[in-house]
Symmetry: C2
Subunit: 197 residues, 2 copies
Amino acid sequence: MPRTSDGDGTPVPQRLLAAATRLFAEQGYDRTSVQEIVEAAGVTKGALYHYFGSKDDLLHEVYARVLRLQQERLDTFADADEPVDKRLRDAAADVVVTTIENLDDASIFFRSMHHLSPEKNKQVRAERRRYHERFRALIEEGQQAGVFTKETPADLVVDYHFGSVHHLSTWYRPDGPLSPQELADHLADLLLRALRP
Amino acid sequence: MPRTSDGDGTPVPQRLLAAATRLFAEQGYDRTSVQEIVEAAGVTKGALYHYFGSKDDLLHEVYARVLRLQQERLDTFADADEPVDKRLRDAAADVVVTTIENLDDASIFFRSMHHLSPEKNKQVRAERRRYHERFRALIEEGQQAGVFTKETPADLVVDYHFGSVHHLSTWYRPDGPLSPQELADHLADLLLRALRP
DNA sequence: GGCGCCAGACTAACCAGTCGGTATGCCCGA
DNA sequence: TCGGGCATACCGACTGGTTAGTCTGGCGCC
């Protein structure tokens, strides 16, 4: 009964995406063969190339999914009806929690950018920039309002914080002493303290 | 006259290392063929395998060089005869400058760890940990002395800062408005402000 | 009877590492 | 001072294995 799914109920494209995400995170993009992916998803190459144009395409889909999710969440927090320092704090903490919940995505995101074709890379960078700008705007708003110090350019602060978020996939261990939320609170504290006038 | 160097004066092993560093940073480890490396260095495979055991070995050498340099510099700053907040500030700013001066090394470092053989990976991690501990000790010393807040565990602060340093290779552009030193000062400021009690 | 969905053999390209061979300088005995 | 043995430094063709992507065909639903 071949009809976009079998065995378990999830559709083939999603199974492929899930398998690819896990394998890319574990072994890296180049070290993962298309053969491995299709075996992990319980299908064959025919299926993969039916739904995706190339291996590169598969990677691009992973990026698209992550970007969409993060942007949505940021918008939610940034648009909330709260004082700017609370909005920033919530957004900063949320991105940490979300990243931890999708650690595979995160390690792929930063480690495999250069495997995307130039045009897809450009596209991802553009979306990434939008995200960055939104976050920066939040900080600038606080700086104008006098809630945050103006000593450090907002751009730098954003990169400082996201550097640490990016780094999470390198050192965070689920069996560590801190829950994702506790960790997120700490990191958000660091950011907010660094912004204190 | 083949005798460890020719054309320019630099010895062949160093030429190979330099070529490999550049290419690994530009294209990633897997995307760089041994053939490309030897061509960039102006030799052939015979030469490469004469000096290095494997492609993996070459990568390991890059890591060894970076680790040695960073550890040396950290030790210098941490052992200085200065108050703890100045020592931390200097160390934190120096690692930024050094990283910018060797951006290729930095992007390889975090992007290609998983390409090292398991045992070499372990070795690199161990050395990395030593570095981390030294830095953490500095922060803990300040916390004990009451110069830094104890609100955030020292470990976390270290990862927070190095996350941003790591991230540098992603967004830093030499033609940007800030000199490496200015940027380093800003990032060190952020760290110190986040640690203010 | 056609179309979406997929299987799996096949191909053309590439790549790390090997290996037999060559060239050069150095040491040491005669 | 000569020469021959030996080590170091390197060359480049070759091999065995792997890989992304193609293509032909078949199965079942509408």
